[in-house]
């Protein structure tokens, strides 16, 4: 491609018609079809396809030790909490005999490494332990509790991610294409978004929209109106980063030869912006957004405490305060797994979206 583009530019001295023809040919049929249309969204080459599957497989397998490590960390954390888990389980009132029986039952009389393997085996069987808090129907299994709350968090996270992406990409492209004053303002705004404490902006939203204007509910979960403020809050957490990445990517693209070609052949500014700059700079943005999904869940933890939104984060905070260790263990594990998967997804997306990387890796 490099060669072709250089050739296009060297022909700029030729009469306009021929330039238009040439560049039109290269930019539209070759470049756009091959690089953008053909392989950015779908795939036409079978070899590349096979290659990316094997890559996917390899990456997935390499995640197994990481996830094992995560379970180990969570296991170590919970086991090093001071106090006897059985006594905690019984709330302190327990006879010696009960203590022994329960210990044997839970496998706590085994050596510590055997306990770890027992824990792993139980995890794989879907037995993530029971919350010490009694629900309506007795002790709740951690897995279903955590998953149920996770759905609420996911709703919040996905909505704010969409919102942050739209805002961030807009601001980033605006900033990259208008250097100077606009760029400075956009950069400062994105830096502000980057630095705003989620809990502070959330509190401001509550004060303004719930306390003074009485427009939106400030706490809990229900209809769509309950999602507005938390989504806005969480979006400020992410949009600064997205706009920075977009700006960097768009600046990178702007200096590429094919933009010069497009300008030279007289494409309208808007066309270049949408078809050439925006689409190409979306590649790193998509991967960064995916990569940030895990940490977005981390940001959701704080947002949920601000708005008393019953998601995974609020559950974790409450469990921490009432020392419900099985739930903390399960929640941490789930979040870490989601984060690992989002890193994998980001890697794979990056390869799928950018053929240059895929072909480079094959060589």
């Amino acid at each position: 491609m490099e060669v072709l583009n250089v050739e296009c530019i060297s022909r700029l001295n030729a009469p306009p018609e021929s330039v238009l023809e040439e560049t039109d040919f290269y930019t539209h049929s070759t470049f756009r079809n091959l690089l953008i249309e053909g392989q950015m969204w779908g795939d036409s080459s079978e070899a590349a396809n096979r290659m990316s599957y094997s890559y996917f497989l390899k990456r997935s397998i390499s995640l197994i030790p990481t996830i094992l490590g995560v379970t180990l960390v969570v296991f170590v954390i919970v086991r090093s909490i001071p106090g006897d888990p059985v006594i905690i389980l019984f709330g302190g009132f327990v006879t010696g005999e009960q203590l022994e029986t329960t210990r044997r039952l839970l496998g706590l009389d085994q050596p510590i490494y055997v306990q770890y393997f027992l824990y792993l085996a139980r995890l794989l069987q879907g037995d993530w332990g029971y919350s010490i808090e009694l629900g309506v129907a007795g002790a709740q299994p951690v897995l279903s509790l955590v998953l149920q709350k996770f759905v609420a968090t996911l709703q919040l996270a996905v909505l704010s991610m969409i919102m942050a992406s739209v805002l961030g990409v807009f601001l980033g492209v605006l900033s990259a294409t208008n250097r100077g004053r606009v760029d400075n303002i956009c950069r400062t705004v994105s830096l502000l978004g980057f630095s705003i404490p989620v809990f502070w902006i959330g509190m401001i939203f509550i004060t303004v929209f719930s306390l003074h204007l009485r427009l939106l509910p400030s706490m809990g979960r229900g209809g769509p109106e309950y999602l507005v403020l938390p989504t806005l809050t969480l979006a400020t957490y992410l949009f600064g980063m997205i706009s920075r990445v977009t700006r960097a990517a768009a600046l990178d693209v702007t200096h590429q030869d094919f933009i010069l070609t497009a300008q030279a052949k007289g494409l309208r500014r808007r066309q270049i912006l949408v078809n050439h700059i925006l689409r190409n700079s979306l590649i790193p943005v998509v991967t960064v957004v995916t990569l940030q999904f895990g940490s977005l869940i981390g940001g959701a933890v704080v947002t949920e405490t601000v708005f008393n939104y019953p998601g995974l984060g609020l559950l974790l905070v409450q469990s921490l305060l009432r020392r419900d260790y099985p739930v903390i263990q399960g929640g941490m594990l789930l979040i870490a797994i989601v984060m690992t998967l989002s890193v994998l997804a980001s890697d794979v997306l990056y390869m799928r979206l950018d053929p240059r990387i895929r072909f480079a890796k094959r060589d």
Partner: protein, 298 residues
């Protein structure tokens, strides 16, 4: 004799540093007004941290319940909180708590991360695999979640929040250092140093480290902003500093229950967290531009 030459070298380094700093300030302040703001904010924060006892209008614990939740006035420049304490004084002392926590977290995480990254980048092999696997695992947790786990073991409180944040920030710093070492290791002057028989320690600290220091300093500045937000969030949830110690996040945690009566005790501490984080981010950005380091998504 040796100490004299050491002293001279130190003096010349200090002079270079001073000139570099002046150059940086002159160059960036002209272009970017937010850097001026950041530097001013730092000076103010540093000044009020050191001289908190003289600057604060009254002690941070002293309150009169008959004067609770007042709006800003001459008596209470930023209003009073739910115990009738002066918010301005508490913010000034809270800055002290903040500086204390940032400096410890940065010192611990930077030195350990640097050491880990230098060793694993330079030697490779088993050390590298072990270190990178460990950071992989640590990076699987969002910082606040990892902090939850650590606080579950250690119990809540400022010291434990500091320990938890320090542990988290080791991992990204180690990874960055390792990457930088890997690319610096291939350069000719390192080969040169090896050929003339320099010891590993000399190569690492004399040849590699000075050449990779700028991205590390930039990352440290960004980390400082993240530490501020993390410690603030932990305080806001009620897991950080415990009352009555003044801390910006904890002030917001305490004031939350009274937000329908007065929003000043909630607004000003949060504003300070925001400005502090913004200053560090601005400074990091300006330093990166000054040293011309390419943006990387970390």
């Amino acid at each position: 004799m040796k100490s004299l030459s050491e002293l001279r070298r130190f003096a010349s380094t200090a002079r270079q540093l001073k000139e570099g700093l002046g150059d940086f300030v002159a160059q960036t302040c002209k272009r970017d007004k937010s850097v001026v703001f950041a530097l001013l904010f730092f000076t103010l924060l540093l000044f009020s941290t050191v001289f908190a006892d003289y600057v604060a209008p009254r002690p941070y614990w002293e309150g009169e319940l008959s004067e609770r939740l007042q709006a800003p006035s001459w008596r209470f420049p930023l209003g009073s909180d739910q115990m009738g304490r002066d918010i301005l004084s508490r913010i000034i002392y809270g800055g002290r708590t903040l500086m204390y926590s940032i400096s410890i977290v940065l010192a611990v995480s930077t030195s350990l991360g640097l050491l880990l990254g230098l060793l694993s980048g330079y030697y490779g092999g088993v050390v590298d695999i072990l270190a990178m696997r460990t950071t992989d695992i640590l990076l699987c947790f969002p910082p606040i979640i990892l902090a939850f786990g650590i606080l579950a073991v250690l119990g809540v409180g400022l010291e434990n929040a500091i320990i938890a944040s320090s542990i988290f920030f080791i991992a990204p710093f180690a990874r960055l250092t390792r990457g930088q070492v890997l690319s610096a290791k291939e350069l000719l002057y390192v080969d040169n140093a090896k050929v003339i028989g320099c010891a590993d320690a000399r190569i690492i600290f004399h040849h590699i480290l000075p050449n990779i220091i700028s991205p590390l300093v930039v990352q440290m500045t960004f980390n400082a902003a993240s530490v501020i937000l993390l410690v603030g969030a932990l305080g806001f949830i009620g897991l950080g500093t415990q009352p009555p110690t003044a801390d910006w996040g904890t002030m917001m945690y305490e004031a939350r229950d009274y937000m329908n009566l007065s929003s000043y005790p909630l607004f000003f501490p949060g504003l300070c967290i925001f400005l502090a984080a913004f200053s560090f981010n601005t400074l990091g950005e300006a330093l990166r531009d000054y040293w011309d380091i390419r943006e990387r998504a970390l």
